[in-house]
Symmetry: C2
Subunit: 377 residues, 2 copies
């Protein structure tokens, strides 16, 4: 095998040339810039920009509710920088603004996908964010497609199966159906929501039951997260005919697909549904239209309501957990308060979990990290 | 269910506010800019940049081998643009350069991930690229983790199972092990290589056998594609002790893991191995170190060599297909020619597939789209 050393030598050369189309990067061969750099209670952001006139940093933590900007200063070698107080433990997003144009941080490998946008992440470690990083034992994330007769095409799902699923071929699991908001798709809860990491950590620490998590695409006109030639249906989904098409597909197509193709406990007490914003509306609709299906119901920052009669029906069908969550500065907070009132008036035992802040992934990660511990117990 | 109309109304509001941290985008509320726009045999790129002094477009197709730039012109409303002749059918990458800084195209939802970089894609339809778009029937892409005793941690894999895998629970499939280059990870062949689309199309058209494709992470120091706190091993992988650690893990850990957890035909005639650049070196090493394991061997733009004795051994072990491919301007082309010569001298039947161009994903997609049709037949 001695001649393999030639292989190794060539590999060493190839290693530096592997990446395709290197010239897509503007500044090549320059000294590495470190960004972001956390030191004690500060964080420094840096960007090399030789010919820029004004460079700013825009960060999601800088002002409420949706961020702000600060100026950066040109330093040696045209490296612009700004040093800030480290915000509280969480995952934030940011970008540079170079002469008015949004620019991602070329030094930061941590990127989250928000539909059509890719945003650099600032991770600040601490108690609040400890379950957002990789655990030791990992579940499997897969992307099967299910055929929807209701919506008219095959559609992509994201499915998390917990650590041990493959190694225990006789074990059956409960299922959480986890729904995104109007701007998201079947990758939102995995990318921005850190669902795989949160579930891996909670299960590894014994804080949550091992469960399967199913994350469908909740925009009925969308076949899947957008990529080449994925068609979108040109249908008025708000018309009377299609109004509940997606929720019907979820409850009568996706649930059976999952129960056929994964090892699940196919009973109401082993089914949970949760969703944020529009997905919170879907959660409420599913619980009203199919009151027998889910025993665990978690509307998060929900865009949705239910009448007293609907809640009475749901109570009759049986609910093991009703976990309603919203930020106190969320633009939908009044709606959550109204739903809390209806639930109280109808005597449906529930939790109204009110957090600081608004309509943000920071809150939705917190909610998942909270209610997942309460499921199937 | 009439009260659900309130839900719908709130959904309509939520739809426009769903995305988190909107202010991360610099230009908000402005009229939509279309980019890239293909019209006949031209393509126009546009970027709104109010305060920029110089804006260029950098594209992977503009010059050989790794791209070039052209100037863009400021137009009405500070929308910079450039109209170019449409390049030949393929997938290209590009970005803007604003006052010297690389900027992604905020209008383009098509993005490919290259390790730490996210690059906008230009898709030019045509015969060469027809298998790079979504087919009608889709396989499943999953990300299981395997435990590596050799490398010292659990590591993430990408696995493609063909359409029908779930619906035919007794059918067993052959397996292609598909390896990336030094700059890549277990997502490279899925993102840049379009493996799921190529396999879906070839299988749907009856041009390739239904098969499982396994895409491991070929950098032994890497546990997985980089994300929060994924550790990297601080080991000299080129030392004598660890030289073939990854190839050993592939052949003695990953292959058994796949054959235990997926429905595969566990025989040499149902195993193929292919890899690009460093992965081509891994392919050659695996065929030399484990000559009985794979009957189909495809080194692509390979960083690797084999001695006459090693090829003679391999020939003795039996080979159904040896598909060697390289671009004629690839910096590794001389190495491929040398390997072709050794194979010829040793009388090992093989194909030497020489394409135009260099060390690029354009070529690696072409090679997969070519040799996948020849496997397991």
């Amino acid at each position: 095998m001695k001649k393999l050393s030639l292989v190794i030598a060539i590999l060493a050369i190839a290693g530096s040339l592997q990446a395709q189309e290197l010239s897509n990067f503007a500044s090549r061969g320059s000294r590495p810039v470190i960004s972001p750099e956390i030191q004690g209670d500060s964080v420094t952001f840096r960007l090399k920009a030789d010919y820029a006139t004004v460079v700013k940093l825009s960060g999601s933590w800088m002002a409420n509710p949706y961020g702000g900007t600060v100026d950066m200063t040109r330093g040696e070698n045209n490296i612009w920088s700004v040093k800030l107080l480290l915000p509280a433990p969480e995952i934030y997003t940011y970008n540079f603004v170079v002469d008015g144009v949004a620019v991602n941080d070329p030094q930061n490998v941590l990127v989250q996908r928000d539909g059509t946008r890719y945003l650099p992440m600032l991770f600040v470690p601490g108690e609040r964010s400890e379950n957002y990083v990789e655990a030791t034992k990992h579940g499997t994330v897969s992307h099967p497609w299910y055929d929807s007769k209701i919506l008219g095409y095959s559609r992509r799902l994201t499915v998390y199966t917990p650590y041990g699923y493959e190694a225990n071929p006789k074990k059956k699991y409960p299922v959480l159906y986890l729904l995104h908001g109007a701007g998201g798709d079947e990758e939102a809860w995995i990318s921005m929501g850190r669902t795989a990491q949160i579930m891996d950590n909670l299960i590894e620490k014994g804080l949550a039951e091992p469960m399967i998590v199913v994350m469908p695409n909740g925009n009925p006109g969308q076949q899947a997260a957008r990529t080449l030639n994925i068609p979108e249906k040109n249908i008025n989904w708000r018309s009377e005919e299609f109004r509940n098409a997606y929720v019907n597909s979820l409850c009568t197509e996706i649930v059976p697909f999952i129960e056929k193709n994964f090892r699940v406990i196919a009973k109401p007490e082993s089914r949970a549904i949760a969703g944020l914003s529009m997905g919170g509306g879907h959660t409420i609709s599913a619980s009203i239209l199919y009151p027998q299906l889910f025993d665990y119901i978690c509307p998060l920052s929900a865009a949705g309501q239910a009448t007293p009669e609907q809640i009475a029906n749901l109570k009759k069908a049986g609910v093991k957990l009703y976990f309603l969550a919203c930020g106190d500065s969320d633009f939908l907070f009044e709606g959550s308060k109204a739903l809390d009132k209806t639930l109280t008036e109808q005597g449906l035992d529930h939790t109204f979990f009110v957090s600081d802040g608004g309509h943000t992934w920071s809150n939705w990660r917190l909610y998942l990290n909270t209610f997942a511990r309460l499921l199937f117990k």
